[in-house]
Structures are given as structure tokens and as C-alpha cells.
């Protein structure tokens, strides 16, 4: 506790850096996963290929991707872009599957009804499929966010600053409270983002609460 109080400035900096390294990849991955997942859902032959590729990507260890991306893409090592790109790829691998499965969870009747009353493809996707896929999508997004927050720490092994830096530095200096502070703050950050996502889900999908209230009544 004393160690943490003596180093509040450092902890603040690292937490902010960590949050950025986690949020940017998940946000970018979500934007990319929506069209890709929709494609996999709509074009069945592509489904296997896309999900297979996503699964394959997930077998590459994060550390390996961190160290290999700079020479492969010509990114300077000093930039944390390689960590952001690598984590975007992992989040994408998770979210493409999530989006596909979320769209599959939408009752076909709902889509058919929408088409019957004159909705076209795009508006069906935005007004019917996406909201109904919301709960499954949110669940996947939460998993992707929490695991990305945890994966950011591995970047410390290649010198990209985050709360993970407290692990390498703490191990070098043998300061147990430093390592422990890093573990707790990483978990808290994951928890905080998770709660924010849940809140966003409640605001964006108010009908879920209504349904639950009806079900329990």
C-alpha cells in the first residue's frame, strides 16, 4: 500500500497508457468485425473460411506477434503501434466469431417480418438484426475487452509501457507490492471497462431490462 501511495503519479500514467492500449484495439476490431461478421453470416461459404482464419490467428502467441510485427510491417520498435495492431487482430479474431454467432441468434421470423413490411437489406441489418443480436454481441465484446486488458501487460516484455511494466520492474527490483499493485490495477481496469460496457448495454438496449422484469414478475 505504501509503495502504491508513494508512486501515484507513475501509476496514473501507466493506467492511462494501459487503457489506451486496450480500448483502441477493441474499438477498431469491433468496427472491422461488424462488416466481416455480417459477411460471414450472409455468405455461408465464407463463414468457414473467415472463422477458420480467425481461429488460426488465435493460435499465434501474443508475444510472438509483438516481436515479429515490427520487422514484418516496418514499424519502428519505439512505437506502440505493433502492440495495438497485434491486439486489434486478436480482438478481431474473437469478435468476428461473436458477430457471426450474434447474427445467427436473431430469430429468422423477425428478419422475415421486417422484410414483409418493406425494410431493405441495410435497414434490416441496422434496425432489426443488430439490436436483436445486441445481447450476444455485448457478451462477446465484454470477453474481448477483459482479455485485451490482460494481454496488454505482455507488451511490457518488449518495453511497451503499461501496468505490465510494474511486473518486469517489480521482478527486477524484487518489490512484491509493486507487482501486486500492477495485478490489482490491471484487474480493476478490466472490471471498470466491463461495468461501463454493461451500462452502455443497458442504455442502448432498454428492452432487455423490461423483458427481465416481465420474466421475473
Amino acid at each position: 500500500m505504501r509503495w502504491a501511495l508513494d508512486n501515484l503519479g507513475l501509476l496514473g500514467q501507466l493506467t492511462i497508457a494501459h487503457a489506451r492500449l486496450a480500448i483502441v484495439p477493441v474499438a477498431v476490431a469491433l468496427l472491422l468485425a461488424l462488416p466481416l461478421g455480417a459477411l460471414a453470416h450472409r455468405v455461408p461459404p465464407l463463414r468457414g473460411t473467415l472463422l477458420g482464419l480467425a481461429g488460426l490467428l488465435y493460435t499465434i502467441p501474443s508475444l510472438a506477434l509483438f516481436v515479429l510485427l515490427p520487422p514484418m510491417l516496418g514499424i519502428p520498435y519505439l512505437s506502440d503501434l505493433n502492440v495495438i495492431i497485434a491486439l486489434t487482430l486478436y480482438a478481431l479474431a474473437l469478435l468476428v466469431r461473436t458477430v457471426t454467432e450474434a447474427l445467427e441468434s436473431v430469430p429468422p421470423d423477425a428478419v422475415a417480418s421486417a422484410r414483409a413490411i418493406g425494410y431493405n437489406g441495410t435497414s434490416i441489418f441496422l434496425a432489426v438484426q443488430l439490436p436483436l443480436a445486441g445481447p450476444v454481441l455485448l457478451a462477446g465484446l465484454r470477453v474481448a475487452t477483459v482479455s485485451t486488458v490482460s494481454m496488454v501487460t505482455v507488451g511490457a516484455l518488449i518495453g511497451v509501457s503499461s501496468l505490465g511494466s510494474l511486473f518486469t520492474d517489480g521482478l527486477q527490483r524484487r518489490i512484491v507490492p509493486e507487482v501486486l499493485t500492477g495485478v490489482v490495477l490491471t484487474a480493476l481496469l478490466a472490471l471498470l471497462l466491463d461495468v461501463l460496457l454493461q451500462l452502455a448495454g443497458r442504455v442502448l438496449m432498454p428492452w432487455l431490462r423490461a423483458e427481465r422484469a416481465v420474466a421475473t414478475a
Partner: protein, 229 residues
């Protein structure tokens, strides 16, 4: 690509296939830690998941616990355990970290497997006079096995890639190629290490996928084969 050619050359160089840091030795070390962690995690998580699925109690607790476990950074946990337990127990520290990582997906697979069983099937089992234990062992566990193995597949991917961080505390495995390669500026070795780890993950995943398919009871397979027709 030049880098890939170099990595291939490194992988096919007989010199890298012998000795205490040769590919067979380090692959075996990597595989040993992975399997040990998966077996221990199954021993803990499968019964717990079955209990949750069977009784219907404790699901929200399990979900919260799994979420919390996922939020714990493995690297930090490993550093913490090594500092607290001492290097004499670093193997133990590594296995503990890996088991904690593997528990959430296996736990979820275990209770989801039971959840997915149609209500009618369980009612029939009850109807023919099966006791709680009989229903669990003869109906719920076998029918839930494919989803449980799905959880093990997810866990194995994560464990294979996380074993690498143990190379930082002096437990040689395929991660050693990445660390040493990075510090020596030897990209061929780094890429070769990454390829070996990914290959190991794929092989394990393939074996588990086959097991998952075989785990579907014959009756169910025949039934599902009949349905789409």
C-alpha cells in the same frame, strides 16, 4: 519472403534439433507444462461445472469468478508468485498460473454442456427412475462432453501461448527462442519459435477437435444426422 526462408532454414538446421535447447527438448517441455495444466484444470473445473449444471446453483457465482480470473494478468501473477514462493518453486508458480488461466473456459464448457441438454431428455431420465447421480453420470456428463471438450480446446490455445512467459523466469520452453532471438536480433529464430508454438497449438487443437467429435454419443449423432433430412 526472406524472413520466412530464414526461419525455414533455421527450423531445418540439424544443429537446432539436438542438445538441451534443441527443438525436441523445448517442445517437450512446452507440451508437458501445457498438458499438466490442462489436466489439473479439468480435475478442478469439470466437477465444479457439472455440479453447477446439475443443481442449477452457483451459476452467477461461477460467471463472476470466471470473469475475475480472466481479468488477472498471467505475467503479473507469475512474477508475484515467483517473488513470494521463491525460485525453488517456480515450476509450481508456473503451473498455478496456467491452471488459473485454464479453469474459466473449462468450467463454462462443463456447465454449458449440461445446460444445452433438452429439458425433455432429462425429464425422460427422471421418468425411467434414474437417481440424481445416475442422471449426472449416464445422461448429463456424456451428453455435455462435447461442449466440455470445446472449453478444453479454448483453454489449450491460451495455455500453449502463455507457457512462453515462463521462459522469462528461467524455465526453458519454446518461448526461449523468442526471448533469446529478440535479444540477439535473430529474427529467423524468433519466427521459427513462433511457428513452433502455433504448430503445437494447432496440433493440440486438432487432437481435441477429433476427441470432441468422438465424444458425441452414437445415439445423438444418429439423431442429429436424421434431423436436417
Amino acid at each position: 519472403m526472406n524472413l520466412f526462408a530464414d526461419a525455414l532454414a533455421w527450423l531445418t538446421d540439424p544443429a537446432n534439433w539436438t542438445g538441451p535447447f534443441g527443438i525436441p527438448t523445448l517442445t517437450l517441455a512446452h507440451l508437458t507444462y501445457t498438458l499438466l495444466a490442462l489436466v489439473l484444470a479439468c480435475a478442478v473445473a469439470a466437477p465444479a461445472g457439472w455440479a453447477i449444471g446439475h443443481t442449477g446453483h452457483g451459476r452467477s457465482f461461477a460467471v463472476a469468478l470466471a470473469g475475475a480470473a480472466r481479468a488477472l494478468p498471467s505475467l503479473g501473477l507469475l512474477a508475484f508468485l515467483v517473488l513470494v514462493l521463491g525460485v525453488g518453486l517456480k515450476e509450481v508458480a508456473t503451473v498455478v498460473v496456467l491452471v488459473l488461466l485454464a479453469i474459466p473456459p473449462i468450467l463454462a464448457g462443463a456447465y454449458a454442456g449440461i445446460d444445452a441438454i433438452p429439458r425433455g431428455t432429462l425429464d425422460s431420465a427422471r421418468g425411467v427412475g434414474m437417481t440424481g447421480w445416475q442422471r449426472l453420470w449416464r445422461v448429463e456428463v456424456p451428453l455435455g462432453l462435447p461442449l466440455l471438450l470445446g472449453g478444453v480446446r479454448g483453454a489449450s490455445l491460451q495455455v500453449v501461448s502463455t507457457v512462453m512467459i515462463a521462459a522469462f523466469i528461467g524455465l526453458p520452453n519454446l518461448g526461449t527462442y523468442l526471448i533469446a532471438g529478440q535479444r540477439l536480433g535473430d529474427y529467423a529464430r524468433m519466427l521459427a519459435g513462433a511457428i513452433l508454438v502455433a504448430a503445437l497449438a494447432l496440433v493440440l487443437d486438432g487432437v481435441l477437435a477429433v476427441a470432441q467429435r468422438l465424444a458425441v454419443p452414437r445415439g445423438v449423432r444418429m439423431a442429429t444426422a436424421a434431423v436436417p433430412a
